[in-house]
Amino acid sequence: MRKLFSILLVFLTIFSISVPTFAAESKKRPEDEYRTFVSTDDEGISPVFRTMAIGSTLWSYTWYAGSDLRIDEKAIDTGSANLSRVFVKYLTGSWAKASSYTWSSSNTASWSVSSGADVTVADSVRISLGLSKSRTTTYSVAITIPANASYFSKLGFASDYFQQNYHYEMRANGTLTNSYNAFIKTPTANTYLVVYYQ
């Protein structure tokens, strides 16, 4: 029994030496294990992995109002588009004839919903497609931004967006009670700094 215990201890000793070495090799960055890496993708998955055809159901939900009334809600795909470099916001105040700008803060591009659409439904569609609610760029690299001083300009932030169009329907015991067309726009991984000219 003592011999068996000794063998077990020797085995554990060897194992305790080899495991960290193996872990270091597999990660290749043992020196940085203590650091916290912050994702720049705030929540969801981008870019969109799209497999659905137009006309297919993006989201559906069935619930009961009382014991007799069955409510069916669904959002049907009516098409989508990739939007390039959509203006998000200005990062500088007034228009100026500046020769350069500096950038030193984070910026966030957020999702939006077409006016009149139910935000809860829109959010359900967004989640079902695995789309990001927002995307934040962080200040980690120094950037010198030249500008044409002959014209008034502002520094701005832009992002690529994915627009998902859908048709929403609500039926109570099979009878259509509400419907509308809507869209959501969600930021993708691509963000930009752009000097906008007046």
Binding site: A24, R35, F37, Y139, S140, I143, N190, V194
Partner: protein, 257 residues
Amino acid sequence: MKRIIFILLSAFLLLPLGSCSKNNESLPNDFFIWMNGYIAAPVNSIHTFSLTYYYDINSKHLIKDNISRISWFGIEDKIYITDFYIDEMDLENYWGYDAYSVALKLSFPAEGIYHCNSLRIELTDGSDFIYPLGDLNFDIDLPEPVNPVIDTWGSPVASSNSQEFVYDYKLLNDDSKIYMIKYDFNNQIVNENGINPYNTVDINMNGSPVFYCKSKIVVEKNGNRLLSYGQGSYCGALDLSGDDVVQSRSHARIIQQ
């Protein structure tokens, strides 16, 4: 029982050896963010662009007020650094480092192709240090025409995608077309029938997390080919990750060796 105690003691003594890493010992604690680049510019022009210096505040590092001169290692007589501006960066993603932005005012006295991958930094006490940056290719060519033929100011100046160069140019004459855009030392797009003035092209980063691209453009107007230049774009600079910082640190060590 003595044997068991001996084995247990051996295990505890040997345990720390197992977690030691040779890599950790030789990595630099101050380094520049790895940035490859292609910088095309007209001869005798001036251009300012920035580098990013990361340092561990608890280790030996540069003090900005002690820096007396900065030059390109090996091409100091070809590409001048006429001035520099160093500021502390208020990093939002801390990653254990502090950082300086190092803005370099460049001038280009002679036409030619110049390669450089390191920066020489001289201190007020007379000492100097060589810091690896990345593969930078300078392409200094003819001046632009007096009357501009293309507006390049509306292009993105920085982006999060390190795999793409996004350009958005505007031709200033209806009878002109873009014949060529050179966006990397080894890559260009050429089309006799004209190139789309706004588009995205894939770039080969060769591992660097950030790529600086200041493009060279050839515009064809009335049968003449005229040179123009982009304003510069930091591809990948808006989405630097912790992995990118680690890669930059490792890259600095490899170059230093």
